[in-house]
């Protein structure tokens, strides 16, 4: 830098430097100030983000008008942490004298999500075991007849209900293992029309009955599985039955129990649970 320029700067007073600096900074800040003025007012409290409040258990206490009933445990299987809905009536609401138990173990409040007069939602607790669901509403107990399966990465047995034509869905299975008999509840939602159940070769339909629940119509079927079906199911998805309908409605599997010759149950899961066709 030339000596003259240095000298010029030396003689340039600090007052002038301060003035020029102020002017330059003002020029730079003006557009920011304009932006800040034009910005909409912040209406959200940051405090709520810093300290989020935990979601409370949803509840609408409805005084029971009769004995509690369980219509359905939906889904009838789940991993630890999965949501489960117990549909019923006269369930009251969250109360210190009411409880839900799985395999004899009470579901703690931390694992409860909702509790109303018609349904209870909970999350499968850590360390839960497969077993029956029981509710105790103000001292009145009732148990769902089906079995709830706690599944994990070792659960191999799987059922699938998939739409194959406009009016038909097919139930397939894999890893039936030593399962001899399969009990199923086919739930029909949103229609009164008839459902026709046709077993595949190697599957015997030993029993069928229907009954109505407020949430839909249940077709209970018992299937006898022969050795070939069991062997084949260990290699690929194997057809068990075809479900045909006459109207427009939703069909799902609401309960499934695969029993061995020694009457023990094999845990199973289902994807997808409902099919619309």
């Amino acid at each position: 830098m030339s000596k003259r320029l240095m000298q010029w700067f030396y003689k340039f007073s600090w007052k002038k430097i301060a003035g020029i600096s102020l002017f330059i900074l003002t020029l730079a800040i003006l557009p920011m100030a304009r932006e800040a003025v034009l910005n909409p007012t912040r209406t959200r409290s940051e405090a709520s983000l810093i300290h989020p409040t935990p979601q409370p258990i949803t509840q609408e206490f409805e005084t029971p008008k009769g004995l509690p009933k369980i219509f359905l445990v939906d889904h009838f299987f789940g991993k630890v942490g999965d949501a489960v809905l117990i549909h019923g009536e006269n369930l009251g609401g969250l109360h210190q004298n009411s409880s839900v138990s799985l395999a004899g173990k009470k579901i703690e409040v931390n694992d409860l999500v909702s509790w109303t007069g018609s349904y209870i939602e909970f999350k499968v607790p850590q360390g839960a075991n497969s077993g029956q669901m029981e509710i105790n509403i103000l001292g009145n107990k009732t148990t769902w007849p089906g079995m709830f399966f706690v599944t994990d990465e070792n659960t191999q047995t799987e059922l699938r209900l998939e739409k194959i034509t406009v009016n038909e869905a097919k139930l397939t299975a894999r890893y039936l293992q030593n399962g001899q008999e399969l009990l199923l509840w086919l739930l029909v939602i949103g229609g009164e029309d008839k459902l026709t159940i046709a077993p595949e070769k190697g599957v015997g339909l030993t029993e069928q009955r229907n009954f109505k629940y407020p949430i839909g119509q249940i077709y209970e079927v018992k299937l006898k599985l022969d050795g070939n079906i069991r062997t084949l199911s260990n290699q690929e998805l194997t057809g068990l039955l075809t479900v045909a309908k006459t109207g427009e409605f939703l069909v799902g599997i609401a309960r499934g129990e695969l029993s061995t010759a020694r009457a023990t149950l094999i845990p199973l899961q289902l994807h997808p649970l409902y099919v619309s066709f």
């Binding site: 830098m1 000596k3 240095m6 000298q7 700067f9 030396y10 003689k11 340039f12 600090w14 430097i17 020029i20 600096s21 330059i24 900074l25 020029l27 730079a28 800040i29 557009p31 920011m32 932006e35 939906d74 889904h75 789940g78 991993k79 942490g81 999965d82 949501a83 809905l85 999500v113 349904y119 939602e121 599944t151 990465e153 799987e158 939703l250 899961q269 994807h271 997808p272 649970l273 409902y274 099919v275 619309s276």
Partner: protein
């Protein structure tokens, strides 16, 4: 006046140092002002929809890395007449590469949602995903599986939390978590477009 003499001959005045400090101060002030100006311009660019309705402009903006602008889609409702349909087509990562899918932008939805039937195509194993319940418009509970999916906004790939709904009639929705959290979504009535830009 002899400047050189006056300055140079006074040993008590380290004049070169003083001149240097003055220059440094001015350079610093200019630097700070310049930085503020550039930062302000950048912020304004991100937060402002720049489109002037021309479709070419919209395409140009769409090609930008950080901004995606989509023209309004309108539906003529029997009961309400003409209304904006905040639907956008964006590429979604599937097991066979990216595929365009149409989503409804829904600030009322906590999380993005997809029908369960798309899970296989997106490479999601529902048996491994946590199962939750979600509530629909009338408080009706539906089961869903919580996972993630990848979408492309402009040229950027973004992983967004999603639930795969068991409801076979579920719509494809872009909700708040991961989308409204991380992007500015501007409904610009003047340009009749939706602008998505990265959070500043």
């Amino acid at each position: 006046m002899n400047d050189e003499y006056e300055v140079g001959q006074n040993p008590a005045q380290p004049w070169k140092l003083v001149a240097g400090i003055k220059i440094l101060v001015l350079v610093l002030v200019i630097g700070v002002a310049g930085g503020l100006f550039i930062w302000q311009r950048k912020t304004a660019q991100i937060n402002t929809a720049q489109s002037t309705a021309g479709f070419t402009n919209l395409i140009n903006l769409a090609a930008n890395d950080t901004i995606l602008t989509i023209p309004y889609q309108q539906t003529l409702y029997k009961h309400f007449g003409n209304a904006i349909n905040p639907q956008i087509k964006i590429p979604v990562k599937t097991i066979n590469g990216f595929k365009e899918m149409e989503f409804l932008i829904d600030s009322g939805a906590v999380v993005s949602a997809l029908p369960q039937s798309l899970a296989d195509e997106l490479g999601a194993d529902l048996t491994q995903l946590p199962r939750i319940t979600i509530e629909g418009f009338a408080g009706q509970k539906t089961f869903a599986y919580r996972g993630d999916f990848v979408i492309k906004i402009g040229k950027e790939e973004v992983a967004i939390p999603v639930v795969f709904s068991e409801n076979p009639d579920a719509s494809k929705i872009l909700g708040r978590i991961g989308f409204f959290d991380d992007f500015n979504i501007v409904f610009n009535a003047k340009t009749k477009s939706i602008t998505i830009s990265k959070k500043g």
